[in-house]
């Protein structure tokens, strides 16, 4: 006993204890739910059977229900459009801004930092702001677009099933662009200056320098940023809750919102868990790519 106590204060026991404490917490509140999620996806869980650990078995019925649901196709399409669209736009805008602010003019770093103000805000507040900005009759976005001659009549962003998903997508691009920019800026600043000087001496123009130096040198960062952007976009929930609530008529529902809706609006936790299981697998695959690319980065 004394030896154990001694090692807690002085030896490997001290280190082990610190790690075990934290990992146990994560195991109980993240690890077990991950496994339990798979279990309840094969059970019938409603308000009446909530109080017990195990529920009546449902076999694969929940999975069949989800795949045969007429909403499934819309949700799948929405999730893909929302994720690819958000990541592509956030990345492109973020990269453009990072390159612009990389030119080291007076105040560049400070002004660049201002963009992060968007990123530190609670997602729900960002959603409510864009809900107002994109309002159909009195929204300032419609006013500006009309002034620029881009639209002839007001677009009812949130209430038109054709555009509802895009109203959330626009907000998400605004929300995520600064983070993309700042990570890419870190990557840019790690490229040695003399590479550019050498290329310039060899007569390479700006475009050639970008293609032959910037892009190849940024490969690991770009991989990490795109993977992270995908992960954050797949986590996005608050914007949906604040702007469209998946509507109208399910036209802007994505998988992570549908799962929550099934569990907490229809109280069908079994079917909610099915989508949860499937989506978590997707997220974990993307994360593996991310972890691998950051590993490559730290070894550089």
């Amino acid at each position: 006993m004394r030896r154990v106590l001694q090692s807690m204060r002085d030896g490997i026991g001290f280190d082990t204890m610190l790690v075990i404490l934290t990992l146990s917490y994560l195991l109980v509140f993240a690890g077990l739910p991950l496994i339990y999620n798979v279990v309840i996806s094969f059970q019938t869980v409603d308000v009446f059977s909530l109080g017990t650990l195990m529920h009546p078995s449902a076999g694969v019925e929940n999975y069949v229900d989800i795949f045969e649901d007429r909403q499934a196709e819309t949700v799948l399409r929405n999730t893909i459009i929302f994720t690819l669209g958000s990541v592509a736009l956030q990345f492109t805008l973020g990269f453009a801004l990072a390159l612009f602010f990389h030119q080291n003019f007076t105040g560049a770093t400070w002004i660049r930092g201002l963009f992060l103000a968007g990123w530190v805000m609670p997602g729900l507040v960002v959603g409510v702001l864009w809900n107002w900005l994109l309002s159909g009759d009195f929204g300032v976005v419609n006013y500006v677009l009309d002034g620029l001659g881009l639209i002839d009549e007001p677009v009812f962003w949130r209430s038109n099933p054709e555009t509802s998903l895009y109203s959330v997508l626009i907000a998400n691009v605004w929300y995520g662009t600064p983070f993309n920019m700042i990570l890419l800026a870190v990557g840019l600043s790690q490229i040695p200056e003399d590479l550019y000087e050498a290329a310039e001496l060899d007569g390479a123009n700006a475009f050639q320098r970008f293609w032959t130096i910037t892009l190849p040198m940024m490969r690991a960062t770009i991989g990490a940023v795109i993977a992270l952007g995908t992960i954050f976009t797949l986590q996005q929930f608050d914007l949906f809750a604040a702007i469209t609530q998946g509507g109208p008529a399910g036209s802007s529902t994505v998988a992570q919102y549908w799962s929550w809706e099934l569990s907490f609006r229809e109280f069908d936790f079994g079917r909610g868990a099915v989508i949860s299981v499937l989506m978590i697998i997707v997220v974990l695959i993307v994360s593996l790519i991310y972890v691998r690319s950051t590993k490559a980065e730290t070894q550089l």
Binding site: L53, I111, G118, V120, F264
Partner: protein, 274 residues
């Protein structure tokens, strides 16, 4: 770079930042407009007879003080659990490099990415079996901490990496125990990084929505994020009141950001790429 190019680039930068930050300006501006001014066509882009009374009205009408208090309680709870459990673990993960540490680090990284809106289903069902839903705010804090903890560990690990090992070894030679050296030497040296990480965790707890909305059913215990949706649903036209609510909620976060901008930006990027 010539003076002219420098000036031109600066001007473009200011314009870009102004476009980006316009939604924030619009929030504050709308929050002090009259009901009729919100719906004027064309919209008013400059303040005209500011209605500061909007704030007092919405504070009372939407119970903002109570909701903000709950947000504070939740954010404090999350920061305490995350800070106490996370700092020690991050320290060990920064000190050693072997297969076990790599596996622990990998586990932490993978747990960081789980979407709350997907994890809340099994957590809610498990919590209701365990009877934790009797204490909804506490239950929400437990669930949110499992989300912030991995992130905090990654940020703190980066902070501990900057503390030279030799200082700790010197303390051990001087007769300190490992625990003593950790508390007296390593923690104070990594303090700034840890505090910034804790601040980021606090801000996340303060703005949290999914877990609270799913776990806390009782109105009197709900945080400001839910309070805002509660007010938003039936009052979709009172945009000045809604924006006053949003401004009240987000101003403390923005103030912290403005004061500690550089440190927060460094912390966030360190967490993502290390």
């Amino acid at each position: 770079m010539s003076v002219v190019t420098n000036r031109a680039l600066l001007l473009v930068a200011i314009v870009l930042a102004a476009i980006y930050l316009f939604p924030l300006y619009w929030m504050y501006l709308t929050s002090i407009k009259t009901q009729s001014a919100i719906f004027s066509v064309p919209p008013q882009f400059l303040p005209d007879t500011p209605q500061w009374g909007n704030y007092a009205t919405i504070w009372e009408l939407a119970n903002i003080p109570r909701y903000m208090w709950n947000s504070l309680v939740i954010a404090t709870g999350v920061t305490l659990i995350t800070g106490i459990l996370g700092a020690g673990c991050a320290y060990v993960l920064a000190r050693y490099r072997n297969w076990w540490i790599d596996m622990a680090l990998f586990t932490v990284l993978m747990l960081q990415v789980l979407p709350p809106s997907l994890m809340v289903t099994p957590i809610f069902v498990g919590f209701s079996w365990a009877g934790l839903l009797e204490y909804p705010r506490f239950a929400a804090v437990l669930a949110i901490s499992a989300k912030t903890l991995p992130f905090f560990v990654i940020l703190c690990r980066a902070a501990f990496m900057t503390v030279p090992r030799e200082l700790e070894e010197a303390a051990l030679v001087d007769g300190n125990s490992r625990a003593g050296a950790f508390v007296m030497i390593v923690l104070p040296l990594a303090r700034n990084g840890i505090l910034i990480a804790a601040l980021i965790v606090f801000m996340q707890g303060f703005g949290e929505y999914v877990y609270s909305a799913s776990i806390i059913a009782e109105n009197r215990l709900q945080p400001a994020s839910i309070g805002m949706t509660n007010y938003l649903q039936p009052n979709q036209v009172n945009w000045n009141a809604i924006m006053a609510y949003a401004a009240t909620y987000v101003t403390p976060v923005l103030a912290a950001f403005v004061i500690l901008q550089r440190q927060i930006v460094n912390g966030l990027t360190a967490g993502a790429l290390k």
